[in-house]
Point group: C2
C-alpha cells in the first residue's frame, strides 16, 4: 500500500519520490545542499502591483566559477519546489526530483556547473518547512493579515523576474542553461523569450510554449473542486477551516492527468479498495484506484494551500512565452533549445508539444526534440529523466 501511495503521489511530492524510485544507495548519494532564502524588498508584478518583502526559497549545487559563467537555473513544476537535486541530510528519504541528471559526474555535472533553483511565487507547498514563497497565504506587511485574494494575479513572467533578481544578486549575467519540467518548462521558455541575451541554452521538458485552449480548460477542471468547497469561502479561510476536501480532490485530478492509463490500468486494474467490499455495495464504495488517489490527495492537501493552487492554475492558463504568443516568442529566442517530451503526456499532449517545436523552428530557433518513454505519461519528465542523459550531455557540449 505504501508503495502505491508513493507511486501515486509521485508528481505531487518530491517527498514521496524515493519510495517510488527505490531510493539511491546512500553511498552513491554524495550531493548535499541547503535551503536558503532570497528576499526582495520590493517587487513589481506584470500587473503593476508592487509587493513588499517578497521572499522565495532557493538552493544550489556545485560552485560558481570566477567569471560567473557556469550557472544553470532549474525551474520547478506545478506542485514542486526548488529541491531539484541532492539531500539536506544524509538521512533524507529522498533526493531532489531531478537528482538523476544533476550531480557530480551526472548529465548536468555539478563538478562543472553551479546549479541553482528557487521556489516560485505562489508555490503550492506552504506547509512544507523547506519551501519559502510569497502568495495569498503570506502576510501582507501593510495589513498584518494574509493577502488572500487581494494578492495580485501573477504570471510565469513574474516567476522569472524573481529568479532574475536572484541570479543578478549573485553577480550572474548570463545563464549557461535554463531548464525545468512541466511548469518549469514554461519558465524556461519565458526566460529564453524575455531575456534572450541572458540564456545560452534552454532545456524545456514536458511542456509547450503557450497554454492552448485545451490546457486552459483542463486547468479549470483542476481548480473546480476548490471553488466548490464551501470552506474556500472566496479565498477567505486563513485562521478558519481551510478547503482541504476541495484541495485534496484538485490534487487527485493533477495526479491522474499527470500519469497515464498504462500505469493506472497495470497498477490497479479493477480491484476493490477494500478486500471483500464490492464497489457496487454503495455509492461510496470504491475501487482501489479511487481510494489510492483520494488518500494521496488528502495527505498532500495538508501541506498545501488552496489559494496558491488557484493562482498557479491562473499563471499557467495565462502563459504564452514572452508575454504575447509562441510565434512571437519564436522570433525572440536566441538559445538553442533541447525539448524533451513524452508522447503519452496527457497534460502537454504530443499535438501541443509538436506545434511548439514547429513554431520555434519556423521562427529560426535551433530546436532538438527528444522523446522519453515510460508508462507514467507527463510524470516521466520528472522521474524518468535518466533516459535523456546522453541527449543532455551532447546538448551541453555542443
Amino acid at each position: 500500500m505504501k508503495r502505491w501511495i508513493a507511486a501515486t503521489a509521485g508528481l505531487l511530492g518530491w517527498v514521496a519520490m524515493d519510495l517510488l524510485n527505490g531510493g539511491a544507495p546512500a553511498a552513491a548519494q554524495e550531493l548535499m545542499t541547503e535551503k536558503k532564502v532570497f528576499t526582495l524588498p520590493n517587487f513589481t508584478t506584470q500587473s503593476g502591483r508592487t509587493l513588499k518583502d517578497v521572499k522565495v526559497g532557493w538552493e544550489s549545487y556545485g560552485t560558481l566559477n570566477a567569471d560567473k559563467s557556469n550557472a544553470v537555473l532549474i525551474c520547478h513544476f506545478f506542485s514542486g519546489n526548488s529541491h531539484a537535486a541532492g539531500k539536506y541530510a544524509a538521512t533524507d528519504a529522498a533526493a531532489g526530483y531531478w537528482d538523476a541528471i544533476i550531480g557530480p559526474g551526472k548529465a548536468i555535472d555539478t563538478n562543472k556547473y553551479f546549479v541553482l533553483s528557487s521556489d516560485t511565487l505562489v508555490n503550492l507547498n506552504t506547509g512544507d518547512p523547506k519551501t519559502t514563497t510569497t502568495g495569498p497565504a503570506s502576510i501582507d506587511p501593510d495589513t498584518g493579515k494574509p493577502y488572500a485574494l487581494d494578492f495580485p494575479v501573477v504570471t510565469i513572467a513574474d516567476f522569472v523576474n524573481v529568479q532574475k533578481a536572484l541570479v543578478e544578486s549573485l553577480g550572474i549575467k548570463r545563464l549557461a542553461l535554463v531548464a525545468g519540467p512541466s511548469m518549469g518548462s514554461l519558465q524556461t521558455f519565458e526566460w529564453a523569450a524575455r531575456y534572450p541575451e541572458m540564456v545560452a541554452k534552454a532545456m524545456p521538458v514536458i511542456g509547450a510554449g503557450e497554454a492552448d485552449a485545451q490546457l486552459i480548460a483542463w486547468l479549470d477542471v483542476w481548480a473546480a473542486p476548490i471553488l466548490l468547497d464551501p470552506n474556500w469561502n472566496k479565498g477567505d479561510y486563513y485562521g478558519k477551516t481551510p478547503p482541504n476536501a476541495g484541495l485534496a480532490k484538485a490534487l487527485t485530478v493533477v495526479t491522474l492527468q499527470a500519469n497515464h492509463q498504462d500505469w493506472a490500468n497495470a497498477t490497479f486494474a479493477r480491484r476493490a479498495a477494500k478486500e471483500g467490499e464490492d464497489p457496487a455495495k454503495s455509492l461510496g464504495s470504491k475501487f482501489q484506484i479511487q481510494s489510492i488517489l483520494d488518500n494521496a490527495g488528502e495527505a498532500r492537501a495538508k501541506v498545501s494551500d488552496a489559494n496558491h493552487f488557484l493562482y498557479l492554475v491562473k499563471a499557467n492558463q495565462l502563459f504564452a512565452a514572452g508575454g504575447t504568443s509562441l510565434s512571437d516568442a519564436a522570433t525572440k529566442i536566441k538559445a538553442p533549445v533541447l525539448l524533451i517530451t513524452q508522447p503519452k503526456d496527457l497534460v502537454f499532449t504530443a499535438d501541443a508539444v509538436d506545434r511548439t517545436a514547429e513554431t520555434l523552428k519556423k521562427g529560426g530557433v535551433d530546436v532538438t526534440h527528444v522523446h522519453i518513454q515510460g508508462s507514467r505519461g507527463h510524470l516521466d519528465g520528472v522521474i524518468s529523466m535518466k533516459q535523456a542523459e546522453g541527449a543532455i550531455r551532447a546538448f551541453l557540449e555542443k
Copy 2:
C-alpha cells in the same frame, strides 16, 4: 456566440444538436415519432432491491413485422435519452441524435426495421418533459418522498434488464441489432454478453467492454464538483436548493473530455471571454473557452439532476460486460460485433478500445473494427456517424 454554445453543448444535449449540424432541411426530415412510457410494476435490481412502479420513456421508428424479427434496439449515451432519431413535431429544432443513420432509406433503414429506444434508469434529464426515468429524484411509492440516496446502486445490467422487459412486452424474442454510442455501447456489450440468444448483431460505438482503472478514476473527476457543492447535502436536496453549481461544473468536465483539442484549439484559441477584458485582470477573468463551457454547463444543469449524474457515474464505473469481465464476456457473446470508434477519443481511448477488440477476438467473437474521424473526439460517435453509413449497411446485410 449561439453557435459556440451549441457546439460546446453538443454531447450534453440533443436539443443543441441541430444548431451544431445546421439542421436538416424540413423537407428531407420525414421521420416522426412520439414519446411513450413503459411501466414495470416491480423491478428487481442486480443488488437485490425490488422497486415498485418503475417507469421509463421510449420511442420507436418503423413498423414491427408480423414475426417480430425486425426489431433494432438503440441504447443512449450518458447524458442522452431515447430520442435517437426523428422529430416529435415538424417544427422541432432538431431530430434525434443518430438521425443521420436511422430513418427511411438510411443505414438503419426504418422501412425495413422497427427501431426502438428507451430512457435508462437514473437518466440525467429529469427536467426534460420528453424524458421519463426512475431514480433518486423519483417519488418512492412507499414513502411518498424522493428516494434520494436511498435509491439502490444500479448497473448497466439493470438498464438492460428494463429494456429486456420492454422488448418482451412487445412480443420480441430476438433483436436484429443492438447498438448505441458511449454508455449506449456499454449496454450493447451487456446485452450481447448477458443475453446472447436474443442479440443477432451488436454495434457498440465509441466504447469499450469494461471500465478500466483509468476510466473509473476519470469518472470520479466528473463527479467531484457535485460532491463538493454544499447544496448537494449528501443527496438530500429535493425541495431545497439543488447543487446546480457543482452539477454545472460536472457537465463542463464531461463536455471537455467528450471533445478533443483539435476542436477546442481551433474554435477558441486564446481569445478572451469578454472583448477588452484581459484574462489576467483578475482571478475570475476568463478565456472564451472557460466561459463557453461554463455557460453550457449551467444551462444544462437546470434540466438535470445531480444525484442521477452520480448514479450514472457509478453505473459506468461498475461496468464489465456480462457482470464479470471483458474476457469472460468474450466467451459468451455470439453476435457478430461492428465496433465503431474514434482514435482521438479522450473518454474511451484507442488503447482501451483496441484492448476490447483484441479480447473479443481471442474469445472467438466475430469483430469488425471501423474508425471514424473528426475534430470532436468522443463526440464524433454521436455527431459524425454518417461516415460509418457504408460499414453499417454492410454489417446489417452480411
